[in-house]
Symmetry: C2
Subunit: 233 residues, 2 copies
Amino acid sequence: MKTVLNPTKERILSAAELLFAETGIATTSLRRITGRARVNLAAVNYHFGSKDGLIDAVYERRLGPVTDEWLANIEALENRYGESPAPVEEIVEAFVLPVARLASDEVRGGRIFMRLLAQGYSEARHYFEKLFSSQYQHVLDRYRQALRQDLPHVPSDTLCWRLQFLLGAMTQGLSGGELLRLIEGKADPKDTERAVRELIPFLVAGLRAEPPPESEERSYGLSTVSADPGEIA
Amino acid sequence: MKTVLNPTKERILSAAELLFAETGIATTSLRRITGRARVNLAAVNYHFGSKDGLIDAVYERRLGPVTDEWLANIEALENRYGESPAPVEEIVEAFVLPVARLASDEVRGGRIFMRLLAQGYSEARHYFEKLFSSQYQHVLDRYRQALRQDLPHVPSDTLCWRLQFLLGAMTQGLSGGELLRLIEGKADPKDTERAVRELIPFLVAGLRAEPPPESEERSYGLSTVSADPGEIA
DNA sequence: GTCTATAGAGGGATAGAC
DNA sequence: GTCTATCCCTCTATAGAC
């Protein structure tokens, strides 16, 4: 267990993760983090160099293992099925489960981190751009190609859109979000096992759906691309 | 047009919206906002009372019309179909279109605001809680009940989960997100008309999907609810 | 590796002239 | 309604003792 190796570092990381998720990154000061972690203020700069260094470390600790699992899972599928297409269900599972495992593992940060993840990219943009360009994009592409093989009736760019929908639904669904509570259901947002069980058929059906007709048989009357709104609009 | 009535207020709102979406709320200072709006620093406090007041106004300006449309649309459906169930396609359209109209309307803030919205609740939690408890929850509930009628094979709590997935997919899909760019597709994230055309069948198929079996015929081995992680974990 | 003390920058808000 | 000047606060980061 890494947790044992350097208690101070881990304490800072866990406190930071929790506070970031609860109140946002920018509004969380190093003073509050070190206070909660019961560690000296200067320790952050000693161990992580700066607040930015700490932010990177918070993300790295959780997302590193996930991308590793993603890669391992897709490779296992590729090896198992060879040239023949793997079924969509299994591909979706291979993608969702690593994230779900993270979400359900309270010891490893669990849903706290998922909330941080769902919170968006604007606060940690530089980290996400680094991550995407290095590994994420490549992994996602292999999932997309695997899906294509079992979905010959779905055009390539429709599949791109659907992948984006998938990412949105998955992140929202596994973050144990505030949203669910407000839909007034008996559903327990903390039940990750249940969330996955619901999520998989929803996503599979969405991916399998008949693609929309090419023709403009039906227009929603939404401007496609309008002029630059300008400085003030 | 409200835009004409008070130029200064509108300039501040638009500048704030843009900067909030680009770099987050907390990191955007009133100095940067007023600088971009070419308005005096003190104007914010004069017109909005405080930075919090400004944040509320930014959300209110966009979300007010959306919730109004949501309500009008669901009422139109209820009146048109009476006791017999409205088809899922129309219900989903009635829900997605108001948001899509906002996203596609550059003059009204468009995708800039959608990005702000997708960014999550943590930065503007107090505003969302106010909104949810007053109108949003009630409106969402009527959509849920309409869906139930046309989806008798879907249990009530499964539907709750699916609504959450729907919200995640919609928000992500209409935010013109950075994500799509990275999936290496020819899809243009700015094409809202296209986004909606893709989104509707995806969501409808997901909502219509056969619900997962109740029994534990298949477990993902994810802990359901574990102990409180404690202060530090 | 841990702590105290502080430098140095930037933030929100306001008083008061115009 | 708009502007300048300024108060007072909190923040990150670091220097230097232990």
